[in-house]
Amino acid sequence: MENLSTPSTSNDSVGNVSVDEIRKDFPIFDRPADNRLVYLDSGASSQRPRQVLEAMDRYYSTTHANVHRGVYRIAEEATRLYEQARVELGEFIGAPNPEREIVFTKNATEALNLVSQGLGRKILTKDSAIVLTEMEHHANLVPWMILKEQIGFEIRYIPFDSQGILDLTDLDRLLDGASILGVTMIGNVLGTINPVADLARAAHSAGALLVADGAQHVPHMPTNVEELGIDLMALTGHKMLGPTGIGALWAKESILDLMMPFLGGGDMIEDVRLGGYSPNVIPYKFEAGTPPIAEAIGLGEAVRYLKGIGMENIHQHDHVLVEYAMMRIAERFGSTIKIHGPQDPALRGGLLSIEMEGVHPHDLSQVLDEYDVCVRAGHHCAKPLMKKLGVGATARASFYLYNDTKDVDALIEALAKAQAFFA
């Protein structure tokens, strides 16, 4: 225990790089040591390294112009940088044809709306069925509910068990006659790493497409859409060291070709007449209007940064921190703190939803903040899941490459203070 509360620094590195070194890249952590920002909310949004900020500033300061339409050099260069970011992101997730299969959106939510309105509207009718899970984020629930209001179809849900693990007992029955299976790759409340490859196989045998919500997975684990057998995947930039205002949908070329246009406007057309329009080729067909150019470039830089550290290293690091945090919480708080989701750290991503007996998550988060420990309190945009857990809110601590055991220790101490305060 002694040894745990003053951990050897050897734990505090990601691959070969020490967390202290990594933190130097993040301007927000540039504070005196006795005023450390213990940021444990990367599950909601990560911080950005200066490399990303500099890439965007450099773009704005040297080559900004609208893309895809200019003949002059800075417009050409802007277009090149934007398209290069597309390729970099695509390669990062193992897309076979990055330049045609990545559609930039403003966030993961827009990407999932594009799936429901572009694919769902095309292949679903009122007699169709789709399958989701009870642990989905609202971003993978509400777009389907909106489409259902418009055209009608059945939505079925895969339940999860008391460990927060998907219960696949009835999977074949649920998939029977379904056209789409939508699943979050890592649950944003429970932390569960879902068996996406198995689900993809099951979906495909049933003739359904697998739509993956990669918002929590892509930033934290190696992600290869082809190996996992995914058909469409949404991701979001601000959770993976990129800027706000950018996300993406990846989908197989044949699926993107099939999908209906969603947002209409400039760039997504091949021709427009007063009587109608014809859509452009993919991926432009889905990118209406001026895209988030600087944001795409920033995301490309974020991808380079993550690749530099190594996604397997990041996953490993998340795992070490979660394991350490779970152990310390159990030791220190016993049954007065409950951790939702899988009790085996190997089954989870780098986040923990904490329930402290007698202290509401808001109050917990408020007291933690007093000690510069930032955790998220609320329903985490997963209200159906919360209802099933029987709680209105949880306090969630989530880790990333710039966190280390010092952050976990600070969390533990702050939790103890909160418990004392409300005792």
Binding site: H360, P361, Q366, E370, G392, A393, F421
Partner: protein
């Protein structure tokens, strides 16, 4: 922890741990109004029975943080037995105390005199104003009561 002690005054923690008027009322004669804080998941159900132009009885269901629960608890003791006009005035004054901008978009006068006397224990919630995110917790039961009364009066 100065800020925290401003937020969590003793009386608030007391109402949180020993909430007054918890439970349900039979509907009818009572009316049940449900309120959500969409951003955090707090839920309150205000059971209110109105008769003879008064709040005859009131009870609170749902779940939430210390601020929303204690605010609800204090609210019940403050409004029970009062006339609708008094309650309306109290709701208004509570909102003025809580914020410069009401959730319905109307502007409250930041310099309005908020007499603490009339509020009694409620004044303990004043510390919430320094924590903007928590204002919604404090006002949730009041907005819900407000809506419930309006619905009852509208028939």
């Amino acid at each position: 922890m100065n800020g925290l002690e401003d937020l969590y005054r003793e009386i608030i923690l007391d109402h949180y741990k020993n909430p007054r008027n918890q439970g349900e009322l039979p509907v009818p004669p009572a009316h049940a109004e449900e309120g959500h804080n969409p951003l955090c998941g707090d839920e309150v159900i205000v059971y209110v029975e109105i008769g003879d132009g008064k709040v005859k009885d009131i009870k609170i269901g749902g779940q939430g943080c210390s601020i929303s629960r204690s605010s609800a608890s204090m609210m019940t003791t403050a409004v029970k037995g009062r006339t609708i006009e008094e309650v309306d005035e109290l709701i208004h004054r509570f909102k003025v105390m809580m914020s410069l901008e009401e959730s319905d978009g109307s502007k409250a006068d930041p310099n309005a005199e908020v007499s603490l006397d009339e509020f009694g224990e409620l004044a303990a919630l004043q510390g919430v104003v320094k924590f903007p995110v928590r204002i919604k917790c404090a006002t949730l039961p009041w907005n819900t009561l407000d809506l419930g009364i309006k619905k009852v009066l509208a028939g």
